[in-house]
Subunit: 468 residues, 2 copies
């Protein structure tokens, strides 16, 4: 493909994407294909000769699009929403076009310096503690996902706990290192505990209160029991917005308990952290100045296309200690001067994309005001839906609505709730999913799509009424 063909086909693709966004509502949110259908539409063997781009785009329409679940659809309310605003897509395109590796400062200084700047900007917008800023002891970095951010937090905590895990492996047995999280913490915490070699025998699932928040008294008890037994309480993961119900763990009380054991505190605010863009919701971050690391995903509720997970540490030394390996072929004068950041030492992979561009474009395109407006609009829509459920005779709220997620069920219980959810999903206008908390089946409605308007929420209420 020559640069001239790229101009032609690139512009055609830009139009294709704009057409897609403009007509997305006409498509069923949830793909209706059966397993194997997409593959059955495509040749089993790669082509010997090159094909024109038009043929590929035609196949996208014919064979790929029926197999797409439309995360950008205004009726997408499953899981948590995933960002994808136009400026973020353009930032990502620029990143692909430049094609640079930002593993070291030297391999493209702009990729590192813009990332540091944009994460300082975001720390300011979210009113994060001063220690997280790059001019302090800590700093921010873009990870691919909160899963990876949680994993590196565990590794940094392991490093700070001493005993040189990098050399000797994770200490287990009678003096083992222990991880704590609420019983409703995200599955990525268990996954990270496995990956990092702690083992789930050393993961304590802390009970929650009636609003599904970690109980600091139960945490204190568990940590004290472990310490008394000779184990080492190493890290507590607090969830600011659990996945099932967006319960907000009490960060301050948790951090105070953890401090008694010198344990690392990591805050997983992957979805809910974005709410702190508006001052009236900053209560979710109460106590954040006491914690060691924090993650929020702009690729969820902050209009940024996947992947862009923003991770900060209050002290970068244990993070770099855990992750830095320096072979000769990566040595360079800038790194050795100590004057630059090499983000390869802040993450699992060596290679890294120039992801700061899309976050920079998003913040500049919307401005702080535009981002706050977006959050307030979604919070208002969430209130509207929450109010509708509360006023309904057929449905009931099943967990406190803290940010932009409503959990509810049919008054008839699981069978009825599941029937309604499946009917909504089959209808194509909206996509909901479910969870089970404390044995109770509940339907989740996440409201964070850029295109979701009041009329979509009202239509969802109407649908639920009809199906009741």
């Amino acid at each position: 493909m020559t640069p001239e063909e790229f101009r032609t086909q690139g512009k055609a693709l830009v139009d294709w994407i704009a057409d897609y966004w403009e007509t997305i509502e006409e498509r069923p949110v949830l793909s209706q294909v059966e397993p194997g259908w997409v593959r059955s539409q495509l040749p089993e063997h790669p082509p010997e000769q090159g094909e024109p781009f038009e043929a590929m785009l035609a196949d996208v329409d014919r064979a790929i699009m029926p197999g797409i679940t439309h995360w950008q659809h205004p009726g997408f309310h499953a899981y948590f929403n995933s960002g994808g605003s136009a400026p973020s897509v353009l930032g990502d395109l620029l990143s692909s076009g430049l094609g640079v590796q930002g593993m070291l400062w030297a391999t493209s200084p702009a990729a590192t310096e813009l990332e540091t700047l944009v994460l300082d900007w975001l720390a300011e917008l979210l009113s994060l503690p001063a220690a997280f800023r790059s001019d302090s002891t800590g700093g921010g970095v873009i990870q691919d996902s909160a899963s990876s951010a949680t994993l590196v937090a565990l590794l940094a905590a392991r490093e700070r706990a001493g005993d040189d895990s990098n050399a000797h492996g994770v200490r287990q047995g009678e003096s083992g290192l222990v991880v704590y999280a609420s019983e409703h913490a995200h599955s990525s915490i268990e996954k990270a505990v496995r990956i990092a070699g702690f083992g789930t025998d050393f993961l304590r699932s802390i009970p929650t209160d009636q609003e599904h928040r970690m109980r600091p008294d139960a945490l204190a008890e568990a940590m004290a029991a472990d310490a008394a037994a000779g184990l080492v309480p190493t890290i507590v993961v607090a969830s600011v917005g659990t996945t099932s119900t967006t319960a907000i763990d009490p960060v301050r009380a948790i951090a105070e308990v953890a401090a008694e054991h010198d344990a690392w505190v990591h805050v997983d605010a992957a979805l809910a952290g974005t709410a702190a863009l508006v001052p009236e919701h900053r209560w979710i971050h109460d106590g954040l100045e006491l914690v060691d690391s924090y993650v929020v995903n702009p690729h969820k509720w902050m209009l940024t296309t996947f992947d862009a997970s923003a991770f900060w540490v209050a002290d970068r030394a244990p993070l770099i200690g855990a992750l830095s390996v320096l072979p000769e072929y990566l040595r360079n004068a800038a790194s050795e001067s100590g004057a630059v950041i090499d983000y390869r030492d802040w993450q699992i992979p060596l290679g890294r994309r120039f992801r700061a561009l899309k976050l920079w474009f998003v913040i500049r395109s919307f401005g702080a005001e535009g981002l706050r407006d977006m959050v307030r609009r979604h919070l208002d829509l969430t209130d509207r839906f929450d109010g509708w459920v509360r006023g309904s005779d057929s449905y009931m709220i099943t967990a406190p609505t803290t940010v932009n997620l409503v959990c509810f069920r049919h008054v008839g219980g699981e069978g009825e709730s599941r029937r309604v959810m499946e009917a909504v999903n089959a209808g194509g206008e909206a996509y909901l999913n479910h969870t089970v908390v404390g044995g109770e089946f509940m339907v989740r409605v996440s409201i964070g799509g850029e295109r979701t308007e009041q009329r979509h929420i009202d239509r969802l209420c109407q649908l639920l009424d009809e199906l009741a």
Copy 2:
């Protein structure tokens, strides 16, 4: 940004990228900025109001581009090249525009099924063993990088070695699990050994022969000694193309040694694996039917923009056993039917981009023939440069040229070699880096850029002559 604005600005950005590619040779390959320069050009605080896209693109030109090291420049010969062909950039743009999450089959069936298909295509193009195909016991998955692929290989091997590391942590001490790699293996192996909690005390650095290849006899000795001591030889990482010199470890002999201990064999062919697109270079994969996992990076030498690392396993069960955690909110009928792949269980993060699109576009745009032509063109250019060094009085080859990397030095030794390398890099026409192997300083010239032609190699020879 409205869809209409996206059309306008997207097309302007497509032109910007095409202009960049067409004029890339006019720029110095290696960024010349000092630490802090890029940040000093940008406001310290985020804007309160949104800004027009034109302002952002103007800032890219003014403040970002001077801080870019041009990985797509025809004179980029440092590290290994990084792909970025036009079709791959368009595939990535489509992925951003669709903005779907492929964590489960159900969350966009096309994302999973196209990935499985494209990795089967690639297995065919590289002539990989049948067990790696999805219709066998194994299958392929796209990881962000070879670092992550190696980490999941270690986790799968840990799982297969038994003793339930997921629950109990990695077994250490007198019956610990041991990892083997050559002394020239990539730094990501040490990093993965640390992350996965083995500890570098349980990493054996196996000596190499005069051509920097792992010595199977030394591996056999190390494994036997460990086994005799009660340790468990768990995984051997063979490098098909070491980072310093692209030495090709003897995979067959290594696998035969490993088999005596039931150890997992992982092949890291991140760069060099692409050479197997051409039959005359398939010798690098001799013995691959005996190994358990394999990784090659299309984002290196296969024209695909970062990130796209292709990873295969011969048996998917231990991989999924190591990485699957199933919370209620991810349960769905398709997953429970067992008829689909959920790629979240094949990788570290939960979320995942639709990366198969770019690889599909690359294979279809170039065709098998076009990909082979590209490899042969680079191998020819490498031969040309290798031959020039051999014919020079001032320079000498320092390691065997196996694929598309030439290692050489000035006959005067390290000081002269470093002086020449730094002068080339300062000149802006080419960018080289160095390594040290067996105490010998050598300059590396990687030849895998899409735009690198004979005239660029000839000019590099001329420059080196002038600087000699």
